[in-house]
Amino acid sequence: MNNEAFAQLVDANYAALYRFALSLARNASDAGDLVQQTFFIWATKGHGLRELSKAKSWLFTTLYREFLRGRRRDSRSTFLEDLPPGEKDPVAEDVDRVSKIDSASVMVALQSVDETFRAPLTLFYIEDMSYQEIAATLEVPIGTVMSRLSRGKAQLRLAVEGAATAGSKVLPFPGNTKGNRAL
Protein backbone atom coordinates (compact mmCIF):
# COMPACT_ATOMS: atom_id res chain seq x y z
CA MET A 1 0.00 0.00 0.00
CA ASN A 2 1.49 3.35 -0.99
CA ASN A 3 1.57 6.40 1.26
CA GLU A 4 -1.41 8.04 -0.40
CA ALA A 5 -3.59 4.95 -0.01
CA PHE A 6 -2.48 4.61 3.58
CA ALA A 7 -3.37 8.25 4.27
CA GLN A 8 -6.81 7.63 2.78
CA LEU A 9 -7.26 4.61 5.01
CA VAL A 10 -6.29 6.72 8.02
CA ASP A 11 -8.63 9.54 7.04
CA ALA A 12 -11.53 7.15 6.58
CA ASN A 13 -11.15 5.40 9.90
CA TYR A 14 -9.06 7.17 12.50
CA ALA A 15 -11.83 9.31 13.99
CA ALA A 16 -14.16 6.35 14.53
CA LEU A 17 -11.30 4.25 15.85
CA TYR A 18 -10.42 7.04 18.26
CA ARG A 19 -13.99 7.15 19.62
CA PHE A 20 -13.92 3.38 20.05
CA ALA A 21 -10.54 3.60 21.79
CA LEU A 22 -11.69 6.48 23.98
CA SER A 23 -14.67 4.47 25.21
CA LEU A 24 -12.39 1.54 26.03
CA ALA A 25 -9.32 3.28 27.43
CA ARG A 26 -11.26 6.08 29.15
CA ASN A 27 -8.58 8.71 28.59
CA ALA A 28 -7.48 10.62 25.51
CA SER A 29 -3.77 9.80 25.72
CA ASP A 30 -4.23 6.05 25.89
CA ALA A 31 -6.91 6.23 23.21
CA GLY A 32 -4.52 8.06 20.89
CA ASP A 33 -1.83 5.48 21.61
CA LEU A 34 -4.21 2.63 20.79
CA VAL A 35 -5.20 4.18 17.46
CA GLN A 36 -1.60 4.91 16.57
CA GLN A 37 -0.51 1.40 17.50
CA THR A 38 -3.34 -0.07 15.42
CA PHE A 39 -2.27 1.79 12.30
CA PHE A 40 1.35 0.95 13.06
CA ILE A 41 0.44 -2.74 13.02
CA TRP A 42 -1.42 -2.20 9.78
CA ALA A 43 1.62 -0.50 8.27
CA THR A 44 3.86 -3.38 9.26
CA LYS A 45 1.48 -6.33 8.77
CA GLY A 46 -2.02 -5.43 7.69
CA HIS A 47 -1.15 -3.99 4.31
CA GLY A 48 -0.89 -7.59 3.15
CA LEU A 49 -4.64 -7.93 3.57
CA ARG A 50 -5.96 -8.84 0.17
CA GLU A 51 -9.46 -7.48 0.53
CA LEU A 52 -9.27 -3.81 1.31
CA SER A 53 -13.01 -3.84 1.99
CA LYS A 54 -12.21 -5.74 5.17
CA ALA A 55 -9.70 -3.16 6.33
CA LYS A 56 -12.16 -1.38 8.61
CA SER A 57 -13.17 -4.57 10.38
CA TRP A 58 -9.51 -5.55 10.67
CA LEU A 59 -8.64 -2.19 12.23
CA PHE A 60 -11.40 -2.38 14.85
CA THR A 61 -10.56 -5.98 15.71
CA THR A 62 -6.88 -5.16 16.00
CA LEU A 63 -7.51 -2.14 18.20
CA TYR A 64 -9.71 -4.23 20.48
CA ARG A 65 -7.07 -6.96 20.68
CA GLU A 66 -4.43 -4.38 21.52
CA PHE A 67 -6.65 -2.96 24.23
CA LEU A 68 -7.24 -6.40 25.73
CA ARG A 69 -3.54 -7.20 25.51
CA GLY A 70 -2.75 -4.08 27.51
CA ARG A 71 -5.50 -4.82 30.01
CA ARG A 72 -4.29 -8.36 30.62
CA ARG A 73 -0.95 -7.03 31.77
CA ASP A 74 -2.30 -5.26 34.79
CA SER A 75 -5.87 -6.18 35.51
CA ARG A 76 -8.06 -9.02 36.49
CA SER A 77 -10.88 -10.21 34.31
CA THR A 78 -14.44 -9.16 34.90
CA PHE A 79 -16.89 -11.98 34.56
CA LEU A 80 -20.46 -11.45 33.51
CA GLU A 81 -21.65 -13.28 36.58
CA ASP A 82 -20.00 -10.67 38.77
CA LEU A 83 -21.64 -7.73 37.14
CA PRO A 84 -24.56 -5.88 38.63
CA PRO A 85 -27.80 -6.34 36.73
CA GLY A 86 -28.40 -2.64 36.08
CA GLU A 87 -31.72 -3.31 34.39
CA LYS A 88 -33.65 -0.26 33.35
CA ASP A 89 -36.22 0.15 30.65
CA PRO A 90 -36.13 3.36 28.62
CA VAL A 91 -38.74 5.95 29.38
CA ALA A 92 -39.55 9.23 27.68
CA GLU A 93 -37.52 11.17 30.23
CA ASP A 94 -34.40 9.24 29.24
CA VAL A 95 -34.51 10.55 25.68
CA ASP A 96 -35.09 14.08 26.90
CA ARG A 97 -32.28 13.72 29.42
CA VAL A 98 -29.66 12.49 27.00
CA SER A 99 -30.66 15.18 24.50
CA LYS A 100 -29.82 17.87 26.99
CA ILE A 101 -26.35 16.75 28.03
CA ASP A 102 -23.27 17.37 25.91
CA SER A 103 -21.43 14.75 23.91
CA ALA A 104 -18.49 14.62 26.34
CA SER A 105 -20.88 13.74 29.19
CA VAL A 106 -22.44 10.99 27.08
CA MET A 107 -18.96 9.62 26.45
CA VAL A 108 -18.19 9.73 30.17
CA ALA A 109 -21.44 7.86 30.85
CA LEU A 110 -20.49 5.27 28.24
CA GLN A 111 -17.04 4.93 29.81
CA SER A 112 -18.66 4.11 33.13
CA VAL A 113 -20.41 1.07 31.67
CA ASP A 114 -18.72 -2.21 32.46
CA GLU A 115 -15.94 -2.95 30.04
CA THR A 116 -17.55 -6.17 28.84
CA PHE A 117 -20.57 -4.24 27.59
CA ARG A 118 -18.75 -1.11 26.51
CA ALA A 119 -17.05 -2.46 23.39
CA PRO A 120 -20.20 -3.80 21.71
CA LEU A 121 -22.17 -0.72 22.73
CA THR A 122 -19.60 1.59 21.19
CA LEU A 123 -19.54 -0.31 17.92
CA PHE A 124 -23.34 -0.28 17.89
CA TYR A 125 -23.64 3.44 18.55
CA ILE A 126 -20.60 4.88 16.84
CA GLU A 127 -20.12 2.55 13.92
CA ASP A 128 -23.73 1.51 13.44
CA MET A 129 -22.51 -2.07 13.26
CA SER A 130 -25.00 -4.91 13.15
CA TYR A 131 -24.89 -7.55 15.87
CA GLN A 132 -23.22 -9.93 13.39
CA GLU A 133 -20.53 -7.37 12.56
CA ILE A 134 -19.93 -6.68 16.25
CA ALA A 135 -19.61 -10.42 16.90
CA ALA A 136 -17.05 -10.74 14.11
CA THR A 137 -15.11 -7.68 15.23
CA LEU A 138 -14.93 -8.64 18.89
CA GLU A 139 -14.63 -12.34 18.09
CA VAL A 140 -17.48 -13.39 20.38
CA PRO A 141 -20.67 -15.40 19.64
CA ILE A 142 -23.75 -13.57 18.31
CA GLY A 143 -25.82 -14.46 21.35
CA THR A 144 -23.18 -12.95 23.59
CA VAL A 145 -23.29 -9.72 21.61
CA MET A 146 -27.07 -9.50 21.93
CA SER A 147 -26.88 -10.11 25.65
CA ARG A 148 -24.17 -7.51 26.10
CA LEU A 149 -26.04 -4.93 24.05
CA SER A 150 -29.20 -5.45 26.07
CA ARG A 151 -27.48 -5.24 29.44
CA GLY A 152 -25.08 -2.55 28.37
CA LYS A 153 -27.89 -0.28 27.22
CA ALA A 154 -29.56 -0.65 30.57
CA GLN A 155 -26.35 0.33 32.33
CA LEU A 156 -25.84 3.24 29.97
CA ARG A 157 -29.31 4.62 30.69
CA LEU A 158 -28.55 4.57 34.38
CA ALA A 159 -25.19 6.25 33.78
CA VAL A 160 -26.75 8.96 31.61
CA GLU A 161 -29.39 9.54 34.25
CA GLY A 162 -26.60 9.95 36.80
CA ALA A 163 -24.67 12.33 34.54
CA ALA A 164 -27.76 14.43 33.90
CA THR A 165 -28.59 14.57 37.59
CA ALA A 166 -25.04 15.58 38.47
CA GLY A 167 -25.09 18.25 35.80
CA SER A 168 -28.32 19.77 37.07
CA LYS A 169 -27.29 19.93 40.73
CA VAL A 170 -26.93 23.41 42.18
CA LEU A 171 -23.62 23.55 43.94
CA PRO A 172 -23.35 25.65 47.06
CA PHE A 173 -21.31 28.83 46.73
CA PRO A 174 -17.97 28.28 48.49
CA GLY A 175 -18.62 31.17 50.86
CA ASN A 176 -21.91 29.80 52.07
CA THR A 177 -21.91 28.94 55.72
CA LYS A 178 -23.56 25.97 57.32
CA GLY A 179 -27.29 26.32 57.27
CA ASN A 180 -27.41 28.39 54.09
CA ARG A 181 -28.57 26.52 51.06
CA ALA A 182 -28.08 27.43 47.44
CA LEU A 183 -31.35 27.33 45.58
Binding site: Y18, V35, Q36, V91, M107, I126, D128, M146, S150
Partner: protein
Protein backbone atom coordinates in the same frame (compact mmCIF):
# COMPACT_ATOMS: atom_id res chain seq x y z
CA UNK B 1 -42.02 -15.33 22.27
CA UNK B 2 -42.34 -13.53 25.56
CA UNK B 3 -42.13 -9.76 25.83
CA UNK B 4 -38.79 -9.92 27.64
CA UNK B 5 -37.36 -12.07 24.87
CA UNK B 6 -38.58 -9.59 22.29
CA UNK B 7 -36.95 -6.73 24.19
CA UNK B 8 -33.73 -8.69 24.37
CA UNK B 9 -33.67 -9.16 20.60
CA UNK B 10 -34.83 -5.64 19.76
CA UNK B 11 -32.01 -4.17 21.84
CA UNK B 12 -29.72 -5.18 18.98
CA UNK B 13 -31.89 -3.48 16.37
CA UNK B 14 -30.04 -0.50 14.96
CA UNK B 15 -31.84 2.81 15.38
CA UNK B 16 -31.61 3.73 11.70
CA UNK B 17 -33.64 0.66 10.72
CA UNK B 18 -30.86 -1.11 8.85
CA UNK B 19 -31.90 -4.43 10.40
CA UNK B 20 -35.50 -4.30 9.23
CA UNK B 21 -34.89 -7.04 6.67
CA UNK B 22 -33.05 -9.35 9.05
CA UNK B 23 -35.23 -12.42 9.76
CA UNK B 24 -33.78 -12.64 13.26
CA UNK B 25 -35.82 -9.57 14.19
CA UNK B 26 -39.05 -10.32 12.32
CA UNK B 27 -40.98 -12.02 15.14
CA UNK B 28 -39.95 -9.45 17.72
CA UNK B 29 -40.80 -6.60 15.33
CA UNK B 30 -44.20 -8.14 14.69
CA UNK B 31 -44.81 -8.34 18.42
CA UNK B 32 -43.88 -4.66 18.79
CA UNK B 33 -46.57 -3.82 16.24
CA UNK B 34 -49.20 -5.96 17.93
CA UNK B 35 -48.39 -5.10 21.54
CA UNK B 36 -48.81 -1.35 22.27
CA UNK B 37 -46.74 -1.54 25.48
CA UNK B 38 -43.87 -3.26 23.73
CA UNK B 39 -44.31 -0.88 20.79
CA UNK B 40 -43.96 2.15 23.07
CA UNK B 41 -40.89 0.62 24.67
CA UNK B 42 -39.35 0.01 21.25
CA UNK B 43 -40.08 3.57 20.10
CA UNK B 44 -38.44 5.01 23.20
CA UNK B 45 -35.51 2.67 22.90
CA UNK B 46 -34.83 3.63 19.29
CA UNK B 47 -35.17 7.33 20.04
CA UNK B 48 -32.72 6.97 22.93
CA UNK B 49 -30.29 5.06 20.72
CA UNK B 50 -30.50 7.71 18.00
CA UNK B 51 -29.65 10.52 20.40
CA UNK B 52 -26.79 8.61 22.02
CA UNK B 53 -25.41 7.69 18.62
CA UNK B 54 -25.54 11.30 17.48
CA UNK B 55 -23.89 12.61 20.62
CA UNK B 56 -21.03 10.11 20.49
CA UNK B 57 -20.47 10.91 16.83
CA UNK B 58 -19.68 14.49 17.81
CA UNK B 59 -16.52 13.44 19.68
CA UNK B 60 -13.50 14.51 17.66
CA UNK B 61 -10.00 13.04 17.83
CA UNK B 62 -7.24 15.29 19.19
CA UNK B 63 -5.39 17.61 16.86
CA UNK B 64 -2.18 16.02 15.71
CA UNK B 65 -3.30 12.39 16.00
CA UNK B 66 -3.56 11.97 12.23
CA UNK B 67 -0.05 13.31 11.66
CA UNK B 68 1.31 11.13 14.44
CA UNK B 69 -0.30 8.04 12.86
CA UNK B 70 1.20 8.80 9.46
CA UNK B 71 4.63 9.55 10.91
CA UNK B 72 4.54 6.44 13.08
CA UNK B 73 3.63 4.25 10.13
CA UNK B 74 6.54 5.62 8.13
CA UNK B 75 8.86 4.71 10.98
CA UNK B 76 7.20 1.29 11.16
CA UNK B 77 7.83 0.59 7.51
CA UNK B 78 11.45 1.61 7.94
CA UNK B 79 12.12 -0.55 10.97
CA UNK B 80 10.11 -3.71 11.50
CA UNK B 81 10.11 -5.44 14.88
CA UNK B 82 13.06 -7.76 15.28
CA UNK B 83 13.81 -10.66 17.55
CA UNK B 84 15.71 -9.80 20.70
CA UNK B 85 18.66 -12.02 19.87
CA UNK B 86 19.90 -9.81 17.07
CA UNK B 87 18.42 -6.51 18.14
CA UNK B 88 21.72 -4.98 19.05
CA UNK B 89 23.41 -5.71 15.75
CA UNK B 90 20.30 -4.75 13.83
CA UNK B 91 20.14 -1.48 15.72
CA UNK B 92 23.64 -0.62 14.68
CA UNK B 93 22.76 -1.44 11.09
CA UNK B 94 19.64 0.73 11.21
CA UNK B 95 21.58 3.57 12.79
CA UNK B 96 24.29 3.29 10.15
CA UNK B 97 21.69 3.15 7.40
CA UNK B 98 19.93 6.19 8.74
CA UNK B 99 23.20 8.05 8.97
CA UNK B 100 24.00 7.32 5.32
CA UNK B 101 20.47 8.22 4.26
CA UNK B 102 20.60 11.46 6.20
CA UNK B 103 23.78 12.52 4.45
CA UNK B 104 22.05 12.17 1.11
CA UNK B 105 18.70 13.82 1.85
CA UNK B 106 19.91 16.72 3.95
CA UNK B 107 18.73 19.35 1.47
CA UNK B 108 15.27 17.91 0.81
CA UNK B 109 14.22 16.78 4.27
CA UNK B 110 10.58 17.45 5.20
CA UNK B 111 9.26 18.18 8.71
CA UNK B 112 7.34 14.92 9.09
CA UNK B 113 10.13 12.73 7.71
CA UNK B 114 12.74 14.54 9.82
CA UNK B 115 10.64 14.08 12.93
CA UNK B 116 10.03 10.43 12.09
CA UNK B 117 13.72 9.88 11.33
CA UNK B 118 14.87 11.30 14.64
CA UNK B 119 12.15 9.34 16.49
CA UNK B 120 13.15 6.15 14.73
CA UNK B 121 16.81 6.71 15.52
CA UNK B 122 16.01 7.39 19.19
CA UNK B 123 13.75 4.35 19.58
CA UNK B 124 16.16 2.06 17.78
CA UNK B 125 19.06 3.28 19.85
CA UNK B 126 17.08 2.95 23.06
CA UNK B 127 16.06 -0.62 22.25
CA UNK B 128 19.20 -1.90 20.65
CA UNK B 129 22.26 -0.06 21.88
CA UNK B 130 24.24 -0.54 25.04
CA UNK B 131 23.68 2.46 27.28
CA UNK B 132 25.83 4.12 29.86
CA UNK B 133 28.99 2.34 28.82
CA UNK B 134 31.05 5.48 28.44
CA UNK B 135 31.21 8.88 30.05
CA UNK B 136 30.02 9.96 33.44
CA UNK B 137 26.45 10.88 34.27
CA UNK B 138 25.52 14.41 33.27
CA UNK B 139 25.25 15.25 36.95
CA UNK B 140 22.96 18.21 37.44
CA UNK B 141 20.80 17.62 34.39
CA UNK B 142 20.16 13.98 35.27
CA UNK B 143 19.26 14.96 38.83
CA UNK B 144 16.78 17.53 37.56
CA UNK B 145 15.23 15.19 35.03
CA UNK B 146 14.76 12.50 37.63
CA UNK B 147 12.66 14.82 39.79
CA UNK B 148 8.92 14.21 39.63
CA UNK B 149 7.20 16.87 37.55
CA UNK B 150 10.42 18.23 36.00
CA UNK B 151 10.10 19.21 32.35
CA UNK B 152 12.58 18.49 29.57
CA UNK B 153 15.26 21.19 29.21
CA UNK B 154 15.30 23.89 26.54
CA UNK B 155 18.20 25.62 24.79
CA UNK B 156 18.87 27.89 27.76
CA UNK B 157 19.53 24.88 29.95
CA UNK B 158 21.72 23.00 27.48
CA UNK B 159 25.47 23.57 27.38
CA UNK B 160 26.20 21.26 24.47
CA UNK B 161 29.96 21.15 24.93
CA UNK B 162 29.74 20.53 28.63
CA UNK B 163 27.04 17.96 28.17
CA UNK B 164 29.17 16.13 25.63
CA UNK B 165 31.91 15.84 28.21
CA UNK B 166 29.67 14.65 30.99
CA UNK B 167 26.80 13.03 29.08
CA UNK B 168 25.80 9.42 29.04
CA UNK B 169 26.91 8.82 25.46
CA UNK B 170 27.85 10.73 22.32
CA UNK B 171 26.54 9.14 19.14
CA UNK B 172 27.62 9.79 15.59
CA UNK B 173 24.49 10.90 13.75
CA UNK B 174 25.41 11.35 10.09
CA UNK B 175 28.73 12.85 11.07
CA UNK B 176 27.28 15.08 13.77
CA UNK B 177 27.23 14.66 17.50
CA UNK B 178 23.99 13.44 19.03
CA UNK B 179 24.20 13.44 22.80
CA UNK B 180 22.30 11.02 24.95
CA UNK B 181 21.43 11.47 28.60
CA UNK B 182 19.77 8.58 30.41
CA UNK B 183 17.55 9.08 33.40
CA UNK B 184 14.89 7.24 35.34
CA UNK B 185 11.65 8.49 36.78
CA UNK B 186 8.78 6.70 38.43
CA UNK B 187 10.36 3.32 37.76
CA UNK B 188 10.66 3.95 34.01
CA UNK B 189 13.84 4.57 32.06
CA UNK B 190 14.14 7.43 29.59
CA UNK B 191 16.74 8.29 26.96
CA UNK B 192 17.06 11.95 26.07
CA UNK B 193 18.81 12.86 22.82
CA UNK B 194 19.89 16.29 21.66
CA UNK B 195 21.62 17.43 18.49
CA UNK B 196 22.44 20.86 17.11
CA UNK B 197 19.89 22.46 14.83
CA UNK B 198 22.60 22.85 12.16
CA UNK B 199 23.08 19.07 12.18
CA UNK B 200 21.91 16.47 9.69
CA UNK B 201 18.23 17.36 9.91
CA UNK B 202 18.74 21.08 9.47
CA UNK B 203 15.71 23.00 10.66
CA UNK B 204 13.23 20.39 9.45
CA UNK B 205 12.18 19.00 12.82
CA UNK B 206 8.91 20.60 13.90
CA UNK B 207 8.96 22.71 17.05
CA UNK B 208 5.85 21.28 18.67
CA UNK B 209 6.25 17.85 20.22
CA UNK B 210 5.32 14.90 18.02
CA UNK B 211 4.69 11.56 19.65
CA UNK B 212 5.52 8.43 17.74
CA UNK B 213 4.90 4.92 19.00
CA UNK B 214 6.19 1.76 17.42
CA UNK B 215 6.69 -1.80 18.52
CA UNK B 216 8.81 -1.83 21.64
CA UNK B 217 8.93 1.87 22.41
CA UNK B 218 7.81 5.42 21.84
CA UNK B 219 9.50 8.75 21.32
CA UNK B 220 8.68 12.43 21.56
CA UNK B 221 10.48 14.73 19.15
CA UNK B 222 10.61 18.52 19.22
CA UNK B 223 12.96 21.40 18.55
CA UNK B 224 13.78 24.98 19.45
CA UNK B 225 16.00 27.62 17.90
CA UNK B 226 19.25 25.79 18.65
CA UNK B 227 18.56 22.10 19.09
CA UNK B 228 16.52 19.11 17.95
CA UNK B 229 15.42 16.87 20.80
CA UNK B 230 14.06 13.38 21.25
CA UNK B 231 13.19 11.44 24.34
CA UNK B 232 12.49 7.72 24.03
CA UNK B 233 11.12 5.20 26.47
CA UNK B 234 9.34 1.90 26.69
CA UNK B 235 6.90 3.51 29.15
CA UNK B 236 4.59 4.70 26.36
CA UNK B 237 3.39 7.99 24.96
CA UNK B 238 1.34 8.90 28.03
CA UNK B 239 4.49 8.80 30.15
CA UNK B 240 6.39 10.88 27.60
CA UNK B 241 3.69 13.54 27.55
CA UNK B 242 4.26 14.13 31.24
CA UNK B 243 7.86 15.12 30.55
CA UNK B 244 6.96 17.96 28.18
Amino acid sequence: MRTEEAKFILAAFRPGGADAGDPAFSEALHMAVEDPVLGAWFTQSRAHDSVVSGKLGEIQPPVGLRDAILAGARVGKASRPRSASWRWAAGLAVAAGLAVALLSFRSTVHPQSATATLASFAIDDMLNAKHGSSGAPAGTLVSELQSDGAKMPDADQIDFEKLRDTGCRTLNFAGHDLLEVCFARGGAEYHFYVTRRDGPLGDAVASGPSFIAQAGGAAAVWSDARFDYAVASTAGVAALRKLL
